[in-house]
Amino acid sequence: MKEKNSKITDLLALLVFAVFALCLCLVLLTGARVYRNLVQTGEETYARRTAALYLSTRVRQSGTVAVEDFGGCQALTCAEEIDGEIYLTRIYCHEGYLRELFCAENAALSPSDGEKVLEAENLTLSLEGTLLTAQLDGQTLTFHLRTGKEALP
């Protein structure tokens, strides 16, 4: 009888320890999941905000902005004159990256020659009057072109 009681007590202690271990594992797994979600959300927010700021800065810096086709991709083209020559900065999405290409107006270059800026899948642009709308990976950005110029020089 005493032996039986002793076994029951031992079993009970083991059971309590098992419950403790299980709760510990649950808390650790929950913490790990929350941390992973936080980091992932932070990275996505950073990428989205950086892309928006990059496009916004580029559009505001440029004198003339246009939307044109560049090797099958829609590109935001900003023109500037340096020492009497026209140079173009093209911003477009190609092979999973948002790219920037700075070149002379008549340079024969392809979309793969651009420098990778950020990871992005798709950039859709539309220019209606002075309103430029850019859709980058589902995020919509709108710019009012203050100068009102929409054509290349």
Partner: protein
């Protein structure tokens, strides 16, 4: 022997009690962190939505007033300077204002 076993059981119960209190606090903090992260993402989207609306107003176009659970309220603010238009753009989420942007632009004669 029996006393030792009972003592061990008692210690274990106290240990589980202390752990439960700590776990409850930790889980509360995890939930808070998750909620804070969601609020940050929402505020980020609200800022971009308000900026887009401001740009559309400047261009004389109709701004998007709702997107993914967020909705805008645009209120024209009277301006003392002739030719200057002002507006206050407030972004709401579930009837709570989460971001306000004041904007101004020059009225362009048609």
């Amino acid at each position: 022997m029996k006393n030792r076993a009972s003592l061990t059981l008692m210690e274990m119960l106290i240990m589980v009690l202390v752990f439960s209190l700590s776990a409850a606090i930790c889980l509360g903090l995890f939930a808070g962190a998750d909620r804070l992260s969601e609020e940050t993402v929402r505020q980020d989207r609200a800022v971009i939505l308000a900026q887009n609306a401001a740009e559309a107003l400047k261009a004389g176009a109709e701004p998007e007033t709702a997107e993914d659970g967020l909705y805008l309220d645009i209120r024209e603010v009277p301006s003392e300077i002739p030719g200057l238009k002002q507006a206050e753009i407030t972004v709401f989420f579930e009837k709570e204002a989460i971001f306000t942007l004041e904007t101004g632009w020059q009225e362009v004669a048609p």
